[in-house]
Symmetry: C2
Subunit: 326 residues, 2 copies
Amino acid sequence: MSSCRLLFTCLCLLSSTALALADPLPSWRDGPSRTAITTFVESVTDENSPDFVPEAQRIATFDNDGTLWSEQPLYFQAIFAIDRVKALASSHPEWKTEEPFASILKGDLQGALSGGESAVISMIMATHANMTTDEFADITTQWMETARHPATGRRYSEMVFQPMLELLGYLRSNGFKTFIVSGGGIEFMRPWTEAVYGIPPEQVVGSSIRTQYVLRGEGPVFERQPELFFFDDKEGKPVAINHHIGRRPILAVGNSDGDFQMLEYTTTGEGARLGVIIHHTDAQREWAYDRESHIGRLGRGLDEADERGWIVVDMKDEWATIYPTK
Amino acid sequence: MSSCRLLFTCLCLLSSTALALADPLPSWRDGPSRTAITTFVESVTDENSPDFVPEAQRIATFDNDGTLWSEQPLYFQAIFAIDRVKALASSHPEWKTEEPFASILKGDLQGALSGGESAVISMIMATHANMTTDEFADITTQWMETARHPATGRRYSEMVFQPMLELLGYLRSNGFKTFIVSGGGIEFMRPWTEAVYGIPPEQVVGSSIRTQYVLRGEGPVFERQPELFFFDDKEGKPVAINHHIGRRPILAVGNSDGDFQMLEYTTTGEGARLGVIIHHTDAQREWAYDRESHIGRLGRGLDEADERGWIVVDMKDEWATIYPTK
């Protein structure tokens, strides 16, 4: 080896060492959450630690709405559904007098939602079913590329949380496999989670409607039926984790009581475990809400976090940045 | 670098080159199937090939019964269910007169199966449900460790196909992600697929019964309900692939008409695709059956393989070994 090449090799080694030493969580301020997370990751990845966990078992699950991206003033998928009702209205003259569509078209969201769960289901089925999965993926992709959030003017994919992007990357670089486990629609998320979060489709778990395999002239398609297949919330989250992943996570992150059972299941296993709750405390940079919110209500999680050893992330105090730089 | 260390480095490089050149498919004789498989893998992994497929999209799905392991004289999971009926009989005196249990206990399998689908469902629910997932995993694991196949005297985990183990390894070393997509029970397979096939639980897709998340004194458990959740066969296979993986495979391997739709879905996508049928032709070393078999019936697949470009593996001619050396 020539001395020139040797020097080059040494420089490369030095530079990769420098990279390894760079802070993987620059948007997490020094504080209890950051310390708890890095202490946990260091202990489960250290072969000499009693808490060591083999790589294959380093499963981390993340809620999506309110955990990886914002969820106010409405779940983004609900905003998508409303946008779809408006786009489809001209082909549905009957919607002018039919609820919840009539109220949506008049811009009266309160009125639309007064029909409760059945109104939401009507809206979802009218906008999410009776098309193929490919058609739905195209519609979702186009909406994600063009729609803008009413308050921030950002694309929805730009309303993901920068500290969570860093946490996902940090975990993966420490041998974790990262999964989304969301109450949101599995096929609403899959077209963009890989580009936005680095989470591939096979690691996205969510709610779903029934699909049917149908052979058409152009080849086989999946037709989306107007019938719920699985609702991935509350007790549904651990059930879906068991069904889909088949291993108990060692780390779970959520933000609402809909994530309670996922955190409970994760943190009651043997060995080192970490439960994390993202607490929306930043009315200025994002939103501040918990017990009384119409979305992402968080009460029991706050009450029991301490005794269960879950960490509660104070967004206002602990996050230096909320959204990625555009 | 001292000349001694340089020599050592060179030797290491040479030895890893030698490893890379070793035949990854020693149990596959030279023949059309071996050639089709290696040609396909070389083309989709060659960045300069028009058929190149990025690593993340190299999804390969495998049926289990009759594809990765044997399935005669009965699906091994059915043998497991029969063994369980016998083991549980003393706590179920009513089974002495109740079908299909009475026939099973008399050793009259024909009689037991004469009740058709409802007999099979009774048998599955009586042996697979009303316990926790952990209890079921323990029972499955113990059975896999101790039970022996009636004809070969081998453990069932020793009745996997050596050429398929090599194929799984060859694909993974070429950046493929390998999945099981089986009509068999997802929780019957998961306790042992990682050790036996190198396929982790999160890459096992199968049929399932409903589970419920229940908080007990010792912590949360999943109770297995006597109710079918999903039947992963025929049209169910592509539906489950779409639900579970969310990507279209580029390679699928099956052995019966229950795999037809999985191969159809896989091979009608754009770009390079490979469909593979394992044809049981070896009455001496394994079993020979296809169109008229009571299990793993294969007719349409044989009829249409040629026009669809699927390869049909002749086990007798093309496989130098069937089972791993014990």
